[in-house]
């Protein structure tokens, strides 16, 4: 441990809490990273897919003969062939319904995805045939030669239209387009609304957008003739799940599959669910006895990988005359895409996070996941929370307007206080047990945010604004908006960590939770070093290699720090005890007299005796009369007993330029709470990274389809990503309410940053327009691109109420 001994006794400074620079960076900065497409495997074949051009069609004929003759082609697979060898895809873990939720009688249809389409395609981008060739160029040449006769079928893209009785079926053979449905609440909403002093009823929607990590999905699979095992190098966020799925669907033992995460260029949820390509590539590697590589290009990433976020909320809030919420009702429509891939995950997350930090005695939320002829959807950073928060926080602003209250004041009146923690909401959480917030101080966060953003001076500046439409580019309208949210983090059921001493006397830490940029090689050693009595630079992390730890879940749902972090902590405590025990044998001392710092074992009172870990581990096999226990290693699995509930307030000050419709963020403040922070530099950057994605979502990103189901954004020229000049220097503050749910007192924060911006910025824009006299405009959805804002300004003024 780091020690400081200014005067008096030595004080051990924990590594947890230090902003340590990242050990990952050097390789990445020098261009020495190893992303999947960087692996140099001689003779590796490359893959290109023929994908459906139709949103919904019957396949009458597929002819691969010409493609097989194309130069450099090694194999062409179609659906008829692979369906005999690979089981259809089901994301089984995500589709599981816990017993408590099952008691709510949900609909959760199991709709396995065909590995390659055989007789029906349900979205543009669906894989129809797979070409394997000596290079991607040659594979793409051959794809052009595959002939498919399609018979176009009626398609439906709009989720509400898909619910109408006469809507075309998005997936033939189903009774209707409902994939998921659940209704849940507490109290009596009808009764409460009938006596409420104020009721607001609005529709708010989040548009469809895409995780779009800079590195698209990809994998390389190699079948080793020596061990007859498959090695799969993958961009996945969940390597153990991928291992089990591959083994199960191609019918081999999970011992014959090794999935390894290498450097991964962002995931954000898109790489957290399993797709058919991840089964096809390993199958082909085995079938051909060759190494096979597939790296999605951006076109595939945008049009044929998972989309996210598209939800419509018909929300009603009722309050008493003081603005205290008496009832919340919401009817949520989630566009699932062409089939139910991940079940209740996003719809139920939206449901159980909707009310968030507020007290609401009567709640009734219905959520329906609808099939449409669009690509499938996955959780995306926040997984239902940004969408729910958009609806709830927009509605809170509308309620504040009705009551003529400052929006932050309305929020303050409704916040659950620190004294009420742990707080039970009266509804069931995603595990199907009573939802309980473990700790937090929402009023304090709000007070700090109001002060930091300087609400009073923004209001004073607004009082001087010139109203009415202006073509003078120097005219800007200022607005301020808030959004509050919470996030139940640290999803179970478990994560594991194995810590062991290497022959060189270093420590290696294995875990199932790989990094896609979160800095696990820096953060986990800070935790383990404290538990063990070594320095972080004596620890190497191997994350996401299924051969090094038998079980794992992965890095999704703001869970890695809570689950893998606590597993590493436990493994460290156990390994320390094991080391001291073994050292006691070697040194013929009492374990209680031993200590370890910097990886060197010492005996109290005998400063001349020092036993470095390298010497210790070397002596164990030769220790006559020793216990005979094997080397020095301990595995721990941590099962969180409850979610660790993190929370935040975002406050945005924006300027709208009425002549162009441009929205500029002038100031952006985040006050958040995520328990003890292991590495503040990395934690803050996780929040800011999420804010950047949220800003993209509300200001520019939009994955649209035309009415025949053609995606209108298939490159970054059409799918507008946020750039540096759109994101100001985010100002941050944090409070700490350690989580009682885990020994480290930590909470997850990977997703939180993305939850607040859409609501905070939309609230701020509406505030700006209202202050400039456009009281008629209600911002129902994003993205607030310049053209969209101009459209809003041009809209007919509704008569003022």
């Amino acid at each position: 441990m780091a020690e400081s001994s200014d005067n008096g006794p030595t004080v051990k400074t924990p590594f947890i809490g230090q902003s340590r620079l990242r050990v990952e960076d050097d390789r990445l900065l020098r261009g020495d990273a190893r992303f999947v497409d960087d692996l140099d495997i001689p003779g590796a074949l490359e893959v290109a897919f023929l994908r459906s051009q139709f949103a919904h069609a019957r396949i009458d004929r597929i002819d691969i003969a010409a493609a097989l003759e194309s130069p450099g082609v090694v194999a062409v697979y179609d659906g008829n062939f692979v369906s005999g060898h690979i089981k259809p895809l089901l994301n089984a873990e995500e589709l599981r319904v816990p017993p408590g939720i099952a008691a709510l009688n949900p609909v959760n249809k199991l709709q396995p995805a065909p590995i390659l389409a055989t007789d029906e395609v349900n979205y543009v981008g669906q894989p129809v045939a797979m070409v394997i060739a000596e290079s991607r160029y040659l594979a793409e040449d051959a794809v052009e030669l595959i002939e498919v006769d399609y018979h176009e079928l009626p398609a439906v893209m709009d989720p509400e239209a898909a619910l109408l009785a006469d809507a075309p079926l998005a997936l033939l053979g189903e009774d209707n387009n409902v994939g998921v449905h659940v209704r849940h609440g507490v109290g009596d909403v009808d009764l409460a609304l009938s006596s409420a002093a104020v009721v607001v009823e609005e529709t708010f929607a989040t548009q469809r957008y895409v995780c779009a990590p800079m590195e698209p999905r990809g994998l390389v699979a190699r079948n080793d003739p020596f061990t007859e095992a498959l090695t799969v190098w993958s961009t996945t966020q969940t390597p153990h799940r991928v291992r089990d799925h591959i083994a199960e669907s191609i019918g081999i033992s999970s011992d014959q599959v090794r999935v390894q995460s290498v450097d991964v260029g962002g995931g954000f949820g898109q790489k957290g669910i399993l797709v058919v390509e991840e089964l096809l590539i390993p199958f082909a590697a085995r079938d051909l006895g060759r190494t096979v590589r597939w790296i999605a290009d951006r076109y595939e990433n945008l049009t044929a990988d998972a989309h996210a976020r598209e939800q419509i909320h018909h929300i009603t809030l009722g309050a008493d005359a003081d603005g205290r919420l008496v009832a919340v009702r919401d009817n949520i429509i989630v566009n699932l895409g062409n089939r139910n891939m991940v079940g209740l995950v996003v719809p139920y997350n939206a449901l159980c996070h909707l009310v968030g930090p507020y007290r609401a005695p009567n709640v009734d939320i219905e959520t329906t996941g609808v099939l449409t002829n669009t690509t499938y959807t996955s959780p995306y950073r926040g997984a239902g929370r940004p969408e729910a928060t958009f609806a709830m926080e927009r509605a809170m602003d509308r309620l504040a307007l009705e009551l003529d209250l400052e929006p932050s004041e309305l929020r303050r009146r409704n916040l659950i206080t620190a004294d009420e923690m742990p707080y039970r909401t009266g509804i069931l959480d995603r595990r199907g047990v009573p939802q309980e917030y473990d700790s937090g101080d929402y009023p304090q966060m709000l007070d700090r945010a109001v002060e930091m953003i300087d609400l009073d001076s923004v209001r004073a500046a607004q009082a001087t604004v010139s109203t009415g439409q202006s073509h003078d580019r120097s005219t800007t309208w200022r607005g301020i908006g808030f959004a509050m949210y919470l996030e139940m983090t640290g999803l179970g059921p478990f994560e594991g960590a194995r810590a062991e001493v290497t022959p060189a006397g270093r420590i290696r830490l294995f875990t199932g939770a790989p990094s896609q940029g979160q800095g696990h090689r820096t953060v986990f050693p800070q935790i383990l070093a404290d538990a063990l009595g070594v320095r972080p630079d004596q620890i190497d992390v191997v994350a996401g290699d299924t051969d090094t730890i038998p079980y794992g879940v992965g890095t999704i749902a703001s869970r890695a720090l809570v689950t893998a972090g606590n597993a590493a902590h436990q493994a460290g405590i156990n390994l320390r005890a094991r080391i001291l025990e073994a050292a006691a044998e070697v040194l013929e001392a009492n374990p209680a007299d031993l200590d370890m710092a910097d990886g060197i074992v010492s005996i109290a009172g005998s400063p001349s005796v020092e036993l470095p870990l390298a010497d210790l581990i070397r002596s164990i096999p030769k220790q006559l009369g020793g216990s005979g226990s094997d080397g020095l290693g301990e595995t721990s699995y941590f099962q969180p007993p409850n979610y660790a509930t993190a929370s935040g307030v975002h406050a945005a000050v924006i300027d709208v330029e009425p002549s162009t419709g441009r929205v500029t963020i002038v100031d952006y403040v985040v006050v958040h709470e995520a328990g003890h922070i292991v590495n503040p530099m990395i934690a803050d950057a996780q929040v800011v990274g999420g804010v950047g994605q949220g800003i993209g979502g509300i200001l520019c990103e939009h994955m649209q389809y035309d009415d025949r189901g053609q995606p209108l954004a298939s490159t970054f020229a059409d799918y507008l990503m946020p750039v540096a000049s759109m994101v100001p220097d985010i100002r941050m503050d944090e409070i700490v309410c350690p989580s009682p749910t885990n020994p480290l007192g930590v909470k997850g924060l990977g997703e939180g940053g993305a939850v607040g911006p859409p609501a905070a910025i939309a609230n701020a824009v509406e505030d700006a327009l209202r202050n400039a006299g456009r009281t008629d405009i209600v911002i129902a959805s994003g993205p607030l691109s310049p053209s969209r804002v101009l459209d809003l300004l041009r809209e007919e003024r509704h008569p003022s109420p």
């Binding site: 620079l21 900065l29 261009g31 190893r34 290079s135 530099m681 800011v688 800003i695």
Partner: protein
């Protein structure tokens, strides 16, 4: 051939040839890559990015869109920042290319810009990073050649040349400010 081309003076490295079955016309090119002479046979349609990554083994240059939007593939061609997904390998015959691998000597210290990126935590997954590093390196060198001062707003505008999906750009901007001698605004010391 894999890895950084040998820097033995006068040595010529040979790049991996096209697949035998590649149908497009082939060209013999000679190009200086990170200070080394490289001779290569390349097909007409080979992207410069693919040439660097898969024929020369310099995988530090990344592809994020292959269509000119994201900037991840940025390299320096005759000193200018170029998107290597928008250039074909035959076009670089006789030219001088530098990639992210050249910004620091393999065992030497990081460049000022690289160092600033780690100090300011300007990278998370690091996939976009080589593009930002090459773009900023070209930007700094061009300004120096022209004897031009770079203002903070010039620098901010330059950062819009690439996408980053992880960082929200704030720490990239701090890194750039540190590297170019402005106050970074860093709050973590």
């Amino acid at each position: 051939m894999t890895g950084t081309p040998s820097s033995v003076p006068g040595a010529i490295s040979q790049a991996v040839p096209p697949p035998v079955s590649e149908p497009t016309a082939r060209h013999q090119i000679r190009v200086t890559i990170n200070g080394s002479d490289v001779a290569a046979e390349v097909e007409s349609r080979l992207l410069l990015a693919d040439f660097l990554r898969h024929r020369v083994g310099l995988t530090g240059t990344h592809l994020g869109c292959e269509q000119g939007s994201c900037g991840a593939c940025t390299v320096l061609v005759d000193g200018a920042a170029v998107r290597s997904c928008l250039m074909l390998a035959p076009q670089v015959d006789g030219r001088e290319i530098r990639t992210v691998e050249s910004l620091a000597e393999p065992d030497g210290p990081l460049s000022v810009i690289q160092e600033a990126f780690t100090n300011q935590h300007g990278l998370q997954c690091g996939f976009c990073t080589p593009g930002f590093l090459c773009s900023l390196t070209a930007f700094a060198e061009e300004a120096e050649e022209d004897g031009r001062d770079i203002s903070e707003s010039d620098l901010d505008a330059q950062l819009d040349s690439s996408f980053c999906r992880c960082t929200g750009y704030v720490n990239i901007r701090r890194a750039a400010r540190e590297a170019f001698g402005f106050d970074s605004g860093d709050t973590h010391g």
